[in-house]
């Protein structure tokens, strides 16, 4: 018979995780859909009552999105412009109910290739905080998600927060989702970006990410390198973007779109995102 635990203290949660093989639920919006038509009771650790995980805060160096922060919390939080991309993703996740319930951290842990949080957070150089009874460690988001529904989360670990460096606060960010309908739609392609300009208006840092076009969302290092030091100008950026910049992507042919279409759309959306960031 399955067990259920809903601690209010993080330490209790970590102790329980150290002791047993528990399924962690936060928003639970990925847990229940996987149970339709089957009877597969899990031993549950419900972290929703742990107050310490619910907040979006910052210290001198980082913004910290707690593991229980929902998409709605992101939408309603007063955040600098570098989070505009994440906010744009938030208002396009599912419908209002999902935004009210689902957590950003849970979206990372579920590790879907089409997870909406991953491209904007990759562009924000996000790191995840992994806590266990034995201690805390951090990993870059790009290392944490390892494949379709695979993460580096180890037994006994809980993802407690997502950290974003405040050094990026001066950046502009954006996000474009391509789906086959409005609301409640899984992305065909997503593109997210963050750009930091120097005093003369040249690109000092640019982080571009594509989702739903490979097992794990990817940054576009070749394109980022080609844009560095250039003025962020609509025409120029569009002229630089080329198919070779997307060569590392391995999009699927599926019912949402053909692989060729996805690659084609990547290029279009990236150009549009750059134009949006330049505007």
């Amino acid at each position: 018979m399955a067990s259920y635990l809903r601690p209010t203290e993080l330490s209790h949660a970590l102790s329980a995780l150290a002791d047993g093989n528990l399924t962690v639920i936060a928003g639970a919006t990925d847990y229940y859909p996987a149970q339709v038509g089957r009877h597969d009771p899990h031993d549950i650790l419900d972290i929703s009552a742990i107050e310490a995980l619910s907040k979006i805060t910052h210290d001198d160096d980082h913004w910290r999105i707690g593991a229980m922060a929902t998409w709605r919390d992101v939408i309603e939080a007063d955040l600098p412009a570098c989070f505009d991309g994440l906010k744009a993703a938030a208002v396009q996740v599912g419908g209002a109910q999902i935004q009210n319930t689902a957590t950003v951290a849970g979206n990372l842990c579920n590790a879907s290739p089409a997870a909406d949080a991953v491209p904007p957070l990759l562009s924000l150089d996000a790191r995840v905080v992994l806590e266990a009874k034995s201690g805390v460690r951090e990993r870059p988001l790009g290392e944490f998600i390892q494949g379709n529904r695979r993460t580096a989360l180890e037994t006994g670990q809980l993802l407690t927060a997502i950290k974003v460096p405040r050094a990026l606060e001066g950046g502009r960010s954006g996000f474009i989702k391509l789906g086959a309908r409005s609301y409640l739609v899984i992305s065909i392609v997503m593109v997210a970006g963050l750009v930091v300009l120097d005093e003369s208006g040249l690109v000092r840092q640019i982080n571009l990410s594509i989702g739903a076009c490979s097992e794990v969302a990817q940054r576009l290092p070749a394109l980022e390198a080609d844009l560095l030091g250039k003025p962020l100008d609509q025409q120029l950026s569009a002229g630089i973007v080329a198919p070779r910049h997307f060569a590392q992507l391995r999009p699927l042919d599926d019912h949402r779109g053909t692989a060729a279409y996805r690659l084609d759309a990547c290029e279009t959306l990236t150009k549009r995102l750059l134009a949006e960031l330049a505007a």
Partner: protein, 909 residues
């Protein structure tokens, strides 16, 4: 323990409560099963449909995704709790006022979402309303009236007016509206007795296999809560069912083989929890898998395996129409093309559900259905009972669209309840509903049309093959309807159309809003545009020139004596069409990335069965106490037949609508009003209702010896006719307490079609023309429908709000067919992979009602259920072509397909 209960305290629908509850049970399950709040509808259990949306601490959430534990210390409000002190909330009132409610299955969720919006914004913008409702799917309304209602929810409600003698034509609120907004309406899964056993079918994971069932004793030993395993051997009567008496080919439980993925092999009956704990792979079924036959090509290949022994070449049926000898190739202008369509899923928000119980030597089945009388007769055959021993009690039906015209839970429940003498219930979960029930037929259509130099149509040739899947279902209906309608709503001197329904190992395809006509309309409308271009005529004027009119003969040789208003529909569209063309030209000058396009779609649709008798009977009674009761068997699946029959009856009798009580669809209580399909209820049952009302009126007048136009006044048990008071208590009452009984029967005038498809297949035809304005993103291939103007000849709009609602909903489904809906067996068995339009996908819709009365319809009315859908996809595809130059011959025109078309066209230039 997650099955161990935990003490919780919370506010629920206005009351402080404490209870011991299962912490990991879905909140939806807890609200329904522990507290009886059945307004919380279970549409998917996956957060895909939003039907279970409730407010948790004022925020909308999908109750199916919330652990019950989170109710502890929280405040929960479901639609059941929105009304206070017997008064509906302003949001609920606004839903009734705006005709926002049809089947009602999504409405509790919509109301929860709307209540959150209303709390946040006193005067919300349209975009705020869309964002707030974006997570709730509706399959009936097309969302427009719902959005209007939410925007208008701040206003105080107006008092209802019920005009005497003017009920027909009035925008009266739904008869069943209050129960659908206050959450009290009982749908298929809502009235299941607490002591019912549950039934779960075990279904084939294979498309084709020989099967054998092993020893079931070990399964019983391992699972003591398993009461019975039902197989085909338990069935006393017909082991197979089907729509047509000579085509009962679908087994209740597989006999020796399965022919589609999801076919039921057996059913487990027992305690609900015990059934849940039995994995399918523990059930001893052996499958010897056969190579499945997938798609039309494989089914028609020479030497293909025969799916049914008695159906050579896998052909279920072939129907043909021949009129004249002309050939399009000999015409001054000709155009031709090929089209392909996909499986389309009904996706009603309420999955199949019901329960059965034995009452002595009778069976009683409570079920969500479009066709109680056919259910009764089919179950009787399966159970080897006389029909009068089966009692079908239709629950409120949460959407049908043709999908609830076939058997689903009925035969299994009947068998289980009969054998076990216990109530037995079954509720399909969403993937089961999608996998098992019928689909719209995928079609492959080739057509060639020709016209003369002046643009007059000369000759049409069409062949259309429909993949009917594993079993016949309504396949013959599709094959029969298509030749009649294949040339479109135009006058043709020469027509040659062949339609076939072909078996495969795909899901059975059956009835779906339009019976094959929406598929062929894609072809006839595209060819009309092509021909207009060749002649050099405007697309609207070309259609106007060729429109079927009263006095014309149709392709079947039927003389249209009256009520053929396509030319009037086109006249109504003309100014909009001309303005939109100018708008498109201006916008597209300079070749922007987002191009506008405008297109037209026309249709006609025969109301009722094709060339077959399909009578409806209606009874209206007057009791000694002066109460008028309408016995209305026309099951309301959301379209509004319970409302409009009262309106028709009121005017026929000459009394107020509110004075008519109603007994609705129940095979023991109401006479047979046939099935709710084929756009027949308004026209056929409506006419029967009018006749019944007139019959009762005549009897009342005779009783009072009054003149024909005398006023009838019913007040508190007294009947006054003209000046004469009639004492009803002196009259002898029948067993039902009726002192007078008015009867009405109507069977539309129709004749069977001959071998050349000639005859008079329908009593009347609906006509329509729609115009779509779209914006296409040339780089991404995405299409946004901006506006649809729909001009429909409905004969007479009995209730304009309900008529518009049918058209809005048809347009939403037509938009889905055109742009996003494609059911792929095994890949899209849920509502996040199978996409139906959300509130954000819908254009602004303007409906123009044309009323060219039919002499047989009630006050001239015709059907509108299916006509709303048929012209939409053709209009959208035409608009896409206008924007991009790309003619899409495959639907849905998904972004990848359209982008490929755009690239191919660019490459060719």
């Amino acid at each position: 323990m997650s099955d161990d209960r935990v003490e919780m305290s919370f506010h629920l629908n206005g009351a402080r409560r404490e209870a011991r509850l299962r912490p990991m049970a879905r909140l939806s399950e807890t609200l329904r099963d522990e507290f009886g709040y059945t307004s919380v509808k279970v549409g998917c259990d996956a957060g895909d449909c939003g039907a279970c949306t409730v407010l948790l601490d004022g925020r909308q959430v999908c109750a199916c995704l919330v652990p019950t534990a989170r109710m502890d210390g929280a405040m929960v409000v479901s639609a059941d709790g929105l009304a206070a002190n017997g008064f509906l909330s302003r949001v609920q009132e606004a839903f009734l006022r705006h005709g926002a409610v049809q089947c009602g299955a999504c409405i509790p969720g919509m109301l929860s979402a709307a209540t959150e919006i209303a709390a946040a914004h006193a005067h919300p913008t349209r975009q705020q309303v869309r964002d707030g409702l974006g997570g709730v799917l509706c399959r009936c309304t097309g969302y427009q009236n719902i959005v209007d209602a939410v925007m208008d929810a701040g206003r105080d409600p107006d008092p209802w007016e019920t005009p005497i003698g003017g009920a027909v034509g009035a925008r009266l609120p739904r008869t069943d509206g209050v129960a659908k907004v206050d959450g009290s309406a009982i749908f298929g899964a809502d009235g299941i007795p607490g002591d019912a056993l549950w039934l779960r079918a075990v279904r084939s994971p294979h498309m084709a296999a020989k099967i054998s069932i092993g020893d079931l004793a070990p399964l019983h030993e391992r699972h003591p809560g398993l009461v019975k395993v039902l197989t085909a051997a338990d069935i006393p009567g017909n082991k197979c069912y089907g729509i047509y008496p000579d085509l009962k080919d679908q087994p209740v439980f597989a006999l020796d083989q399965v022919r589609f993925r999801g076919e039921a092999v057996l059913a487990l009956v027992g305690e609900r929890a015990a059934l849940d704990a039995i994995p399918d792979d523990e059930v001893p079924i052996t499958y010897a898998v056969l190579a499945p036959i997938v798609g039309l090509d494989a089914a028609l290949e020479t030497g293909a395996r025969q799916i049914h022994e008695d159906k050579p070449d896998n052909i279920l049926i072939a129907a043909a129409l021949r009129r004249g000898e002309g050939d399009p190739s000999n015409c001054a202008h000709a155009a031709s093309g090929d089209w392909r369509t996909s499986y389309v899923e009904h996706a009603y928000i309420e999955p199949e559900a019901g329960y059965a119980q034995r009452r002595g030597d009778r069976l009683e089945i409570h079920v969500t259905t479009q066709t109680p009388y056919m259910d009764r007769d089919e179950v009787a055959l399966i159970m080897d009972l006389a029909s009068e021993y089966v009692h079908i009690v239709p629950t409120v039906c949460g959407g049908g669209f043709g999908g609830k015209l076939d058997q689903s839970v009925q035969p299994m429940l009947a068998l289980a309840a009969w054998l076990l003498d216990r109530p037995v219930a079954c509720v399909f979960h969403r993937p089961e509903s999608m996998m098992v029930t019928t689909k719209r037929h995928p079609a492959r259509i080739s057509a060639r049309f020709g016209c003369d130099v002046d643009g007059r149509l000369c000759a049409a040739v069409m062949t259309a093959d429909f993949d009917t899947g594993a079993y016949a279902s309504w396949g013959p209906t599709v094959a029969g309807r298509v030749p009649v309608h294949g040339g479109g709503p135009y006058y043709w001197p020469n027509v040659a159309i062949d339609a076939r329904a072909i078996f495969s190992n795909g899901p059975s395809c059956g009835a779906f809003r339009g019976f094959g006509v929406p598929q062929v309309a894609l072809a006839h409308e595209a060819l009309m545009d092509d021909l207009a271009a060749r002649v050099g005529m405007d697309a609207l004027e070309f259609r106007h020139l060729n429109a079927l009119r009263a006095g014309n003969r149709t392709a079947t040789g039927q003389l249209l004596a009256a009520s053929a208003g396509l030319d009037q529909c086109l006249d109504a569209l003309r100014p909009h069409w001309q303005a939109a063309q100018n708008q498109v030209r201006r916008h597209n000058a300079g070749g922007p990335i987002r191009r506008l396009g405008v297109g037209l779609g026309c249709m006609w649709y025969g109301c009722g069965n094709t060339g077959l008798s399909n009578p409806s009977q209606i009874r209206v009674t007057l009791s000694a106490a002066g109460r008028v009761t309408l016995y209305n068997g026309a099951v309301d699946i959301g379209q509004g037949s319970y409302t409009i029959m009262r309106q028709i009856c009121a005017d026929a009798l000459g009394i107020g609508v509110d004075q008519i009580e109603q007994v609705t669809g129940d095979t023991d209580l109401t006479p047979d009003a046939g099935k709710t399909s084929a756009s027949r209820q308004t026209y056929v049952t409506g006419r029967a209702t009018e006749l019944a009302g007139l019959d009762l009126r005549r009897q009342i007048l005779r009783l009072a010896n009054a003149e024909e136009n005398a006023a009838i006044t019913l007040t508190a048990g007294t009947l006054v006719v003209g000046e004469t008071e009639v004492t009803l208590s002196r009259l002898e009452a029948d067993g039902n307490g009726a002192v007078l009984v008015g009867n009405g029967v109507f069977d539309p005038p129709a004749t069977a079609l001959d071998a050349n498809g000639q005859g008079e297949p329908y009593g009347t035809y609906a006509f329509a023309a729609q115009m779509a304005l779209v914006e296409v993103d040339m780089e991404l291939g995405t299409t946004k429908v901006i506006k649809i103007i729909a001009a429909h000849d409905v004969g007479k709009a009995i209730n304009p709000t309900l008529v518009e609602g049918q058209i809005h909903g048809g347009i939403a489904q037509g938009l889905g067919l055109a742009l996003m809906e494609e059911y792929l067996p095994g890949k899209t068995d849920n509502l996040h992979d199978y996409l139906i339009p959300t509130v954000g996908d819908m254009p602004e819709i303007e409906v123009i009602l044309v009323e060219d009365p039919d002499p047989n319809g009630p006050q001239g009315a015709k059907g509108v259920g299916e006509p709303g859908l048929v012209p939409t996809a053709p209009a959208i595809l035409a608009a896409i072509k206008s924007a991009t130059g790309v003619g899409m011959h495959r639907v849905p025109a998904t972004p990848d397909r359209l982008r490929a078309g755009i690239l191919a066209r660019e490459a060719a230039q």
